[in-house]
Symmetry: C2
Subunit: 192 residues, 2 copies
């Protein structure tokens, strides 16, 4: 999505060769016109797939997922994060390692809110090592729901999780894929 | 808002005389049609106030705030929660005590994203003791921004924070105000 790439170039900050800050339009302050257009892109991609639920993870995926849910006119569910394993029979749970915070989180969704009739579109802001998305796919599988697609705003192509998901047959639509970042000259190379 | 009251009666669960679970339509699974109508109510209330930014707090306020931001066609900012005081010169910060979790959180917003030209509408899902909303008002005041209103989905009227905010001159629009809950017979008394 050219407009997202332009936002990344104009407003993103390359902190290191693998860290990009986009908190001025995507995950702290949120540009509503931009995310509405992003939702439209995902709608175009997945509108014929029978999507009946949007699944994301707190916190920064929620705004995107809400716009997408509105566009599809379906409900959304956000998985909750916790640092403790509070095992309950009523939760689907998956372990997700956060490289950013070097901590293992347990993500969970109440079993009432995912079920085998669901055709799920997973939405998140970043795809790097793929831990969060894999955790969400895991939750959907536990519910025997179908994951019809994954919509990501910014994929860090150099971290290969996206390529791995694609090779596994996941219908992954990343709106911007970054193949390389150079913090010295703030250069960002997008995948064609 | 009659429809929200109906949802609360139909889908809410009175856990105790002060705890109401609404995670099946408001803060875990989210009913997109309902929150869109809620956004419309707040728009009707505040559309002539010059709102140019929506402010909320992660995580459960974000979906509501996103729908409101879309309706007003303005950007949103969500305050971040952390349990540690990571003092930085670039953040507005406020302490917020969570009665639910019996822990003091520090909420923060990057100083770049609130400023004195802002006319802010604060949005959150619940108003109980008022700690979160007071913290958000505090952040806005630090930025010398104007809080033109506060939109709350469910106000626990019996906890008096709403009445206190109104007495301080805050333009508070709660879509449902609960004056009493009885877990024995699942009775919920709304304020007229």
């Amino acid at each position: 999505m050219k407009e997202l790439e332009n936002y990344i170039i104009k407003y993103g900050k390359v902190v290191s060769d693998d860290i990009l800050k986009v908190d001025n339009f995507l995950n702290h302050k949120i540009d509503i016109k931009l995310i509405k257009k992003m939702a439209e892109c995902w709608y175009d991609e997945f509108k014929n797939k029978g999507v009946n639920k949007i699944l994301t993870i707190e916190a920064s995926g929620i705004a995107l997922a809400t716009m997408v849910a509105d566009r599809f006119n379906v409900n959304l569910v956000f998985a909750k994060k916790s640092k403790t394993t509070n095992m309950s029979n009523n939760l689907y749970q998956a372990k997700v390692f956060s490289f950013t915070h070097q901590v293992e989180n347990v993500i969970s969704v109440d079993k009432k809110y995912l079920n085998k009739e669901d055709k799920i579109l997973i939405i998140d802001d970043f795809l790097a090592n793929g831990e969060a998305v894999s955790g969400l796919i895991n939750l959907a599988k536990q519910a025997e729901a179908e994951v019809v697609g994954v919509g990501i705003a910014i994929e860090k192509g150099f971290q290969k999780a996206g390529d791995k998901l694609r090779s596994e047959g996941i219908n992954l639509k990343s709106l911007a894929i970054i193949d390389r970042m150079d913090p010295l000259n703030s250069e960002i190379i997008f995948r064609k």
